[in-house]
Symmetry: C2
DNA sequence: TCAAAAGTGTTATCCTTACACCCATGT
DNA sequence: ACATGGGTGTAAGGATAACACTTTTGA
């Protein structure tokens, strides 16, 4: 360690340990009647969150406590998303360091303990351009594309303009590129950078923008939500996490509708059924339901055994068999 | 917020904010002469780490500073691994809460600023059973298997014994199951649970165990390293991160050897070349080298353009085209 | 001449995707 | 009868894995 380092460390030593705080933030997801929903608290357009405290046993259990206290919703599956640090202005010029640790949680809506302030909101209220289940949303080409191109052309350098255009094309699938539903975070960040979301312009409502880009949230909660959606959309493809969102028994079409709700696009029915059955993710209960209209459907339940069995991992390297 | 909540928060308020500390920990990887190496500090068997301080601009920049101060190694690519909290005993009974934020970093060994305390160690020194480049390591079947089975049979319940056996089979590829190189963390945790790593038995060396299970590290640094290796082994399959570990120009075989070093297993040469070239990840420099023995090899460089172009994401759902 | 590494070509197999079609029930 | 959803079969296309084979250098 050189001299400069020593000096710096000594200088910091007094204040560094005492200005730190950690916040736990949850993206709690459920699928209610075919709509993917996120748990928000009250009128605030905020995700459930709270500080990590001394007598929380772990980060996860701290998160569970806060969510349950704020919304009455017990959590099942939990997975860490991302940790970041920000300077948080509290007083006039006093700054505190806050570490935000965000989580994705999957549950089913529980009507039992209906708490006052909790609220399930479709995540497409916040990201209207993410729902491609009925085809490409018109506003994507009619509103977002021109505004993004306008932003791209606003750059001084030729090279920057080209780059911005291509980033927009890739993220939103313009110009015959395929729509990639996993790029939720990319898209939000692009809109933020282009000043097309309310959070980016700091509360100043810029007229017509607000409705089309979806509801905004406090601080960076919408960004965290985008991270959660992206993670979930990618994860359902290689881990059987959908079942955390399903009731104990369900039909294959209900399962399919749930996947479609999350992915924001339709899947092919016959192929979907084969995929599920060949992986032996479910087993028949032996019963059927006629509640769905049309021919009665077989009921299935998730085979919990697969959680131990299949630690499947798709390889993409040309490995030798040996 | 109900009464109970209010009371609880008030009771905690005094002490909670002042007992918190955040540590940044880095798994810094380079491949030196065909061996995957991790940067450790000095004689300590520890990963570079340091506390997050008030005037670090961000978590990442704090990490960069610490690694550079401790080892003289500048970092390129950085990616977050995981955040967890632990109770840290400092004095006799005074406990402090520590949040550990771990990162994976990829670099090339820089001979320039040779700092005193830095040390590149092959990660197979810490995980000897992870190197399958010359076939399955004998100790896997001769030592680990019997000890794991012994552990499995030591459970009181029949059901637990069956479960332990199957977990071991899956993780280590016993009984004709395929070896899955990505399960590094699973394997380490299994060994830990079975009491077969030094960290689990708390410093008490249990005779012959230490050499075969690899070198141990302080605290949970080896666990963090396992997390980093697992992440990297999985990531090289869908993102072009290997190039962070390569010199500016290289032959295709050198690239292959690097991938093999990371994956811990061999890949098929012709197929590997096709895979690389068809994805247009590299371009010829026009030069060749005869340094490798045998026919001179063409030199390639990474096409940085692909970083913008391909935000490729492998879908595994039977999506409809529409 | 041989060893070692650089390269090319071909084939079998599996998985994904798309699409056509039939079945069972309620109105 | 027909709408709605349940459920099965199959064929085209692409990606992967395995392997056989040729080329070019240095010792």
């Amino acid at each position: 360690m050189d001299d400069q380092t020593k000096k710096t460390r000594a200088g910091r030593a007094k204040r560094k340990a005492h200005d730190l705080k950690a916040d736990l933030i949850a993206v709690v997801v459920a699928v209610n009647e075919g709509e993917p929903c996120v748990l928000t608290i009250g009128q605030a357009n905020a995700l459930p969150s709270g500080p990590f405290e001394f007598d929380h046993r772990s980060l996860q259990s701290g998160l569970r406590e806060w969510v349950e206290q704020q919304t009455g919703q017990p959590l099942g599956y939990i997975e860490q998303l991302y940790t970041f640090a920000d300077r948080d202005r509290i007083g006039a010029e006093y700054q505190q360091r806050v570490i935000s640790i965000s989580y994705l949680a999957l549950t089913r809506e529980e009507y039992a303990g209906v708490s006052a302030k909790r609220c399930w909101e479709s995540w497409y209220d916040y990201f209207p351009f993410e729902d491609h289940r009925s085809g490409t949303p018109p506003m994507l080409l009619e509103v977002l594309r021109p505004r993004l191109m306008e932003w791209a052309e606003g750059a001084p350098e030729v090279e920057t303009r080209r780059e911005r255009r291509r980033r927009a094309e890739v993220a939103f699938g313009f110009d015959d590129r395929a729509w990639n539903e996993e790029l939720v975070l990319h898209r939000y960040e692009l809109l933020y950078e282009a000043g097309l979301v309310e959070e980016a312009v700091g509360g100043r409502r810029s007229g017509d923008l607000v409705p089309v880009q979806g509801r905004s949230m406090i601080a960076d909660h919408r960004r965290i939500m985008a991270t959660g959606i992206a993670r979930l959309r990618s994860k359902i493809k290689y881990r059987p996490v959908v079942f955390e969102l399903m009731p104990p028994v369900f039909t294959l079409l209900q399962l399919q509708r749930t996947v479609e709700a999350l992915a924001g696009r339709l899947v092919n029915k016959p192929n979907f059924r084969r995929l599920i059955e060949q992986q032996e993710l479910v087993e028949e209960t032996g019963e059927t339901t006629a509640e769905t209209g049309g021919r009665p459907a077989k009921l299935y339940r998730f085979r919990h055994a697969v959680l131990d069995e299949t630690v499947m991992a798709g390889t993409k390297l040309p490995l030798t068999r040996s």
